[in-house]
């Protein structure tokens, strides 16, 4: 196994999805010719509303769903022709809680490892369970565990064969804050070991905090794939807030410009601007303020969150 440096444009894709579409038996089209490349060692967040096709896409790569058209390659190998090779390098944590309630934790993990044809390795299983704070529960039946622990068992099962690519489908849905933090620490550790992680989430903040790149999917189409930081810079609108020394009743006519509003309390001016524009209008605004004799006590800028960008995109406004 190679441990190359995480992400980088020159790295070959570990997962290549080309022209993949899926129409279910009932006639519902879940995916429309999706193209996507995932780089080695990155954390990729697939973002989209319910029914956008996220789970279908993951299902196709992992062998649960048959694609109607298109090709998927994992480390250059076709997922149908070389399914043994491709599946052995993938770990999947599905969205639904899918466990055999009467199995013990350690047995469940050992079973998952066995299915992948790997020899029994108690030391590895112990490491996985310890990393997920499940070691103390190893002899408990799954039905006795809390919801969060069950979810971690599913992660442990997915890691039991030490995959290179891990799919996490809505991993933190219904998980409390503390556990979520713990889960992200596990993800971070995996990234440090050179693993590639593809996750879907509704918690857009998580994608923003965790992901190197974000793909937005809407109605079965990938609308956008971008480095998280670039996306923020590229699409993010910023807001400049000017705290005024003295209250105003209205925006003075001399200052009136698109995007400038007075706060309700009258003690601050908000100016929305586009960072992508050639001229943001900030210089002019500040000059006009000076000319109009409006004193500014303080100022700050705020970038719109990924959530706002996301709403823009899936709403079709952008």
């Amino acid at each position: 196994m190679t441990h190359e440096t995480p992400s980088g444009a020159a790295e070959p894709a570990v997962l290549t999805i080309k022209g993949v579409s899926k129409t279910y038996a009932g006639g519902f089209t879940a995916l429309k010719s999706v193209d996507l490349d995932i780089k080695k060692g990155e954390i990729f967040a697939l973002l989209g509303p319910n029914g956008a096709g996220k789970t279908t896409l993951i299902g196709i790569v992992c062998g649960l769903v048959k694609a109607t058209t298109g090709k998927v390659a994992v480390f250059g190998h076709d997922i149908d022709g070389d399914y043994r090779l491709t599946r052995s390098r993938i770990g999947l944590v599905p969205q639904e809680m899918s466990i055999d309630m009467f199995t013990k934790v350690a047995d469940a993990v050992a079973y998952a490892r066995g299915l992948f044809g790997k020899p029994s390795d108690p030391a590895w299983v112990e490491k996985v369970l310890r990393d997920l704070s499940l070691w103390d529960k190893r002899n408990e039946q799954l039905r006795t565990l809390s919801g969060g622990m069950k979810r971690r068992v599913m992660i442990a099962k997915a890691l039991s064969h030490d995959p290179d690519i891990l799919f996490l489908d809505e991993p933190t849905a219904g998980v409390d804050v503390e556990l979520r933090q713990g889960m992200w620490q596990v993800v971070e550790k995996l990234r440090q070991r050179g693993k590639t992680i593809i996750l879907t989430t509704h918690y857009i903040q998580e994608a923003e905090e965790m992901a190197d790149r974000v793909g937005v999917i809407r109605q079965g189409e990938i609308v956008l794939v971008e480095e998280t930081a670039t996306l923020m810079a590229k699409l993010g609108r910023k807001q400049l807030t000017l705290q005024l020394a003295e209250r105003l009743d209205a925006v003075p006519e001399a200052l009136a410009v698109e995007g400038l509003t007075l706060s309700e309390s009258g003690d601050a001016l908000h100016f929305d601007y586009d960072t992508r524009a050639d001229r943001t209008g900030i210089t002019t605004l500040l000059a006009n303020l000076n000319a109009a004799g409006v004193s500014v006590r303080d100022l700050e800028t705020r970038q719109s969150s990924l959530e706002e960008i996301f709403v823009d995109l899936v709403g079709g406004a952008s």
Binding site: C62, G63, L85, R87, S98, D100, L115
Partner: protein
Amino acid sequence: MNWRGAVTIYKAEMARTGRTLMQSVLAPVISTSLYFVVFGAAIGSRMESIDGVGYGAFIVPGLVMMMILMQSVSNAAIGIYFPKFNGTVYELLSAPISALEIVIGFVGAAATKSLILGALVMVTAAFFVPMEIQHPLAMIAFLVMTSVTFSLFGFIIGIWADNFEQLNIVPMLIVTPLTFLGGSFYSISVLPPFWQTVTLFNPVVYLISGFRWSFYGVSDVDIGISLAAIAGFFALCVVIVWRMFKTGYRLKT
């Protein structure tokens, strides 16, 4: 070949039996004992011998076969249906394991359980009635072939079933009647000619007849036809399972 994967499924299925020992082992043995008490000892003592075999002894092969058929079908069906029901089938589908290996794991375990139960029933029977086995090798061959074939059949039902009702409907409404009407408790030669002909369309007749031959050397139909029937049903099940995995029928969306 991912043998480890197949063995993992096999062991997990056998462990499941271990967890439900009362239901999977004790219950069938007790119910079979009741058959011996009622049909073998109570009623059997007033029955004439059939083809020179005492009635109690005559029904042993039929009862063993009935046990094997019903247990094979229900064990294999629940074995694959349960992962579908609780969602863990994703593990099987996303693992580097072939259809053949999955089938070896599930069907192998179900057939093993049937063989163990079949042996237990025979041991139980020995307490109630005098038994002889004229062709032990043929008997073992019949047991193994029937266990495997009907486990395969149960596996098909488990994949096909979408709910617990469907899971039970085939064993209850098809396998049980076919077994009862297949000559478990009587020789088909006692039936009127018309019903004898109808009975020949029941595949279980060939199994029980052949199996009984291995015990007492007497059979309703030719042993060669019995073997051909079981081999034919096995081949049919293999083709159906193969198609199911090939098309992803009720496994993949």
